[in-house]
Symmetry: D2
Subunit: 258 residues, 4 copies
């Protein structure tokens, strides 16, 4: 049976490219996203056209039962999930506390922390029974420092990171590889960054930083590292790594002219 | 008018002693806890008997509106809250994922992270209007590392820590001092540790480690540092500090015999 | 016999004010610095004039034997050193690698890391024999992140921090309190910042940020916290704390307009 | 001309295997170690026998000029160094302060921190002129926490880590990829762990943990990740990652039975 790589949060950025990379590596890519059936169909078609195996699943991750049902369905209809890519963002932009509403703060937690917990509750026992598996968790700088305006996002991502640590502590010895991947630069992703900026500003940004300049993170490049890390020999597992474009200042630095 | 120090989570451990210490320092101590009216009354009586000013308030912090109403009531009836001590724990012991239920995980977040957010939503604007204030937030080792079995607690405390960082980033320049205090050893606290262990084991522990041995953290000693930090000159504010008993191994170390 | 507080690096900033604060608290302040006998004499005279006890010692800390001899002399002539304040900076400004010479890099290590090791080699056994003591180590943001241009300084300060952790791991259970204090803002210190900027720029900076604005760290305010931390009850010791002025962006943040 | 991967610290563990892996990937492996010409010759012969390109170089890295000369020689005789693997350890076992001698502490710094600085002083300008390069720096848990008995090692490795951060801050925008790789478990390395334990205890350890159990880190597995990271697309560079065997407790955790 084909190994399945389930991607929760499979937009046109990291999620979709990781799905594609795993499909190229012989996995069935089970791509899950909240909306845009057309976009989802296109991603599945693209993978299938190049000889890969993929399926698309719409799910609203914040709804109780949604991730759970998708996992059950994929396991029943496609095959055992060997790798889960938890790639849901929870960014709401920089907002003062006064504009960070209770529902927004709770939503951050539901997407950022609780959804991962819910997925682990269902999948970890299945993986344990099968003798192994992999959790690749996309994360953000906000997991390690709370910048001005990031009340909801930082609390959510920090919860995500510590949950990854507790999952790792319990499940690594059971042969389940948990990885916390800290993405520290903007990603060339039309579905997220593109929508945030709008078409015009996004086009300008691409002009300035992409197109061979490599100053925006290319999701296909990120996906290569996801795939590598997921296939590390178990005597040499990475739990945490950061990634950023060469031209960016790391989160712990601030720009200094020498 | 007397400055008010409001303590959310005023049991017989850190919370109660911090309240007492601020009362000795001239504040009115508004002590809030979930239950045990008798215990609360005794703490208030003890402070009053030694010439201090205090009041007791029962509130169930996980209920929406509870902290909010207590703040409103204290501000209306007692005076402006100058210092908030957020001292709610969210520890549920070490539990495998299988025994960490959804409600438990959510409760961890409600007590550990969301309650602080709710308090800040109400109090920060009041403090800002008054030109200043102090948030002292008790935290735990779980805020910085996710140990085995700490799924709920670590996610909740990490969220708390990052929320403190975002609050600090926005409100320190507005003269509001936010402090994240990482308590890294067991505290001599009958209401929490005592209840967790039961009377017999707690008595044995006290025999072994307290009574002049100083191997359990004394909440009155912790309270002295809370009071000092709350009164630092604003040109020299501490955002984060750890505390542990001299005989304990710091969380980042493991025991090594030399 | 009077307890001695020995300050290595007793200029007109943190070092001198910490000495003064400990003298006010009943200690003999043994003030050590590399040069400026006149400045040293004035500090001693100022302390003595207000009824305190102090002595001045010139020493070149990078020379092998210098700190060692000063410790021996102070122990012999004044009394047992209860508190060591290691307050030597190793900042050489932001310099590209090309301008960071081998001698400069080594000097950073000698002042930043090795001098503390040498002091600990001599003093720890004495303190252990006496049943306790305190090491207060001034440190800098560079101990936790290597900013552009900080090749020498960051390596030196990170070594200092980790050495503090190992000293703490071995000596805290022997009742010796080691504290790593991360100073994260500029300090109103004529001997260091003042010399770095020159009189004119320093005067302008004071005009802009000091004089009641509190946007430069006041060393007397820092000293109050040093004194408090040095006197924490041993069941509630702090190993690490940061300090910055209320108006400054913490090192892990970058400025964001909301 | 063939790209060169220079390995400083090319024993039979990580260093040798990384050299071999880069040779398999088309590089010339320039293997440098302090002693054991025979072992060095065998490694070179092994690589050559499988069709790769390699050379061996004895150098005593603590001697001023040694690394510098080796770099000059390799650049002159073999070709431009595209990747430097700095793989010198500085472990001296767990020793109380009393047994950590001044020379030992200094030697830790010379191997752990200063040698990397010296290599960077020579190589960074060459790489910058050529438009890019890679520094892969092996590091240890001691870089991020100072355990009991690690006075020399922790100070040295923390200095190494912060130096990596400053190098990254200055040179990443110049297309030079600096990576700090934190090895957090024991490695199956006869030249280091084997010598530390002696043949009998090492054989027992292998019996208990290696041989298909994967509880010792396999250096060939580590080498695969070094090679991957060195070839990340520059829009998605990793600065720091940790590695440990699946069965090990991460450094930030302590063992807990659930």
């Amino acid at each position: 049976m084909t190994d399945v790589c389930m991607v929760v949060g499979a937009g046109a950025g990291i999620g979709g490219h990781v799905g594609k990379r795993f499909a190229e590596g012989g996995y069935h890519a089970a791509l899950c996203r909240r909306s845009d059936q057309d976009g989802l169909d296109r991603m599945v078609a693209e993978i299938t056209a190049s000889g890969g195996s993929a399926s698309g699943h719409l799910l609203n991750a914040v709804e109780d039962g949604s991730i759970e049902e998708a996992i059950a369905q994929i396991e029943a209809e496609v095959g055992p999930i060997k790798t889960l890519v938890y790639n849901l963002g929870a960014q709401v932009g920089n907002r003062p506390l006064a504009d960070t509403h209770h529902k927004m703060f709770e939503m951050g937690w539901r997407l950022g922390t609780y959804g991962l917990f819910r997925a682990a509750k269902i999948l970890m026992p299945l993986m344990e029974k099968r003798g192994g598996g992999t959790f690749l968790v996309t994360s953000a700088t906000a997991a390690v420092r709370g910048n001005n305006g990031q009340h909801s996002h930082a609390a959510a991502m920090a919860g995500r990171r510590m949950l990854c640590q507790t999952l790792n502590a319990e499940f690594a010895p059971k042969n389940i590889h948990v990885v916390h991947i800290l993405i520290d630069s903007a990603v060339n992703a039309p579905d997220t960054l593109g929508k945030l900026l709008g078409p015009e500003r996004f086009a300008k940004l691409l002009e300035a930083k992409a197109h061979g300049k490599d100053e925006l993170m290319e999701p296909s490049a990120i996906a290569d590292t996801y795939f590598h890390i997921a296939h590390q020999h178990r005597s040499a597992w990475t739990f945490e790594l950061d990634m950023r474009t060469f031209s960016d200042t790391a989160w712990w630095n601030h720009p200094v002219d020498l």
